[in-house]
Subunit: 256 residues, 2 copies
């Protein structure tokens, strides 16, 4: 039974791509066949496994427009057990192209039906918006992970993101749950980070991963080398945190 997880937050720059890439790579390191899907026209997840978006012949966009083509766009990555469904700027056209399709929210979900059985896990990186690309990712998923920077705007936007997810669930009749909130880019030296983190844990208690991702420059260096940080510098505090997140995620699966 394939598990599909979307990494979502309307707020920009909170660590969505970094979480998607390192969680997918972490699960692949546990030798489970994993697919990383890049649903962001910025194509940052695509870049972080060493691909150049402008050189791609097929992307996830082709699969959205004609579902039979989705499988052809999947590529292996240099990381064992990790494949990617990459993106490029073509995705910018999806919003306008799909607007007249009443079922546009379910395009990715139906296109993945034939593809997903090959994978134990599918991780979907989303753009910083609640538009049609993010809606497609949420509707194709079993649950979502919301990375949260420990700062004011991020906290304010959280209830909006949670409201939007509840609306999708009700209007489309899907069982999408929140897998967890992930405190990320945490700078434990600042009062601000600790105050926001305490507020998040107080409001959302059980839904917050116990693993916290620290701000760590090795994480920001890794994309320039075309590798997830857990392969770029496995000993760094950032990598150790993502490996323990992967373990926490895989262990909680066993308990369901």
């Amino acid at each position: 039974m394939t598990r599909t997880i979307a990494i979502v937050n309307q707020k920009g720059g909170v660590g969505k791509t970094t979480t998607a890439v390192n969680l997918a790579a972490g699960i692949a390191l546990a030798e489970k066949p994993t697919l990383l899907i890049d649903m962001d026209p910025q194509a940052n997840a695509t870049m972080s496994v060493g691909l150049r978006p402008e050189e791609l012949e097929r992307t996830v966009y082709d699969g959205l427009i004609s579902p039979r083509d989705l499988a052809k766009a999947v590529q292996k990555t240099p990381i064992g057990h990790l494949s990617i469904l990459p993106a490029n700027a073509d995705l910018l056209a999806a919003e306008v192209k799909l607007v007249s399709d009443k079922k546009r929210a379910l395009r990715l979900r139906s296109a993945l039906e034939a593809l997903s059985p090959q994978f134990s896990h599918i991780i979907i990186d989303c753009p910083p918006s609640l538009g049609i690309l993010t809606v497609n990712a949420i509707c194709a998923s079993d649950s979502i992970i919301i990375p949260l920077q420990c700062e004011y705007y991020s906290l304010e936007g959280l209830s909006r993101t949670l409201d939007a997810i509840r609306v999708f669930r009700e209007t489309l009749g899907l069982h999408i749950k929140v897998e967890g909130l992930l405190l990320s880019m945490m700078d434990s030296r600042t009062k601000l980070s600790s105050e926001v983190a305490a507020e998040v844990r107080a409001h959302f208690a059980a839904k917050v991963f116990s693993t916290v991702i620290p701000r760590n420059v090795r994480v920001a260096e890794a994309p320039g080398h075309g590798k997830p940080v857990i392969l770029y510098d496995v000993g760094s505090r950032g990598s150790q945190a993502f490996l323990s997140l992967t373990e926490e995620f895989l262990t909680s699966e066993g308990k369901e």
Copy 2:
């Protein structure tokens, strides 16, 4: 002659809102009548002057749908000479609502014609995307400022943002120039920041503001207090940088 500037970058979390709010407040401190427009459904610029988005009766969305109503949505802020055209989540509907209007890209530009003469400067905060809200902001502006975080994804996305602006300029026949690239959230302790900053200055030389905005926790604390950092803690390194940016911006205007 009103000067209208859009703060644009598809990449999320690079300091667009922080730049828009503090540049607008800085110009207002120089006693020039300034309007801050929030074109982001996240409504972070609206929050940073102490307004609560869910309590607003009129927003910029009403003005996009019926241009005569734009002026009614403008509010004074507690900061002298600074007014705001606020936003809330209603803006999420704009993309779908305007899709059948061939001239949808020029809605804000034409709605501002009657309003702009009251202001010497208009600063527009944009969402992290190149969708219809950002296109409206760019088409309503004389020039754009691109905040840039000194990290890999941000650098990679820059040429995409610049390409998109060139396309809007050519297809719509508008004279929109790049006012400047602003190096922001710069952590001078890391090699990564200095390397990316050097690369940006090498490629774009004259277009890069000499003012660099340092990473400074007081900047991230200010929104929680409903104030721009230049009013929350004027002595902080962040505030000093935004005040010198305002000076650099206003002085370069004189030279045209």
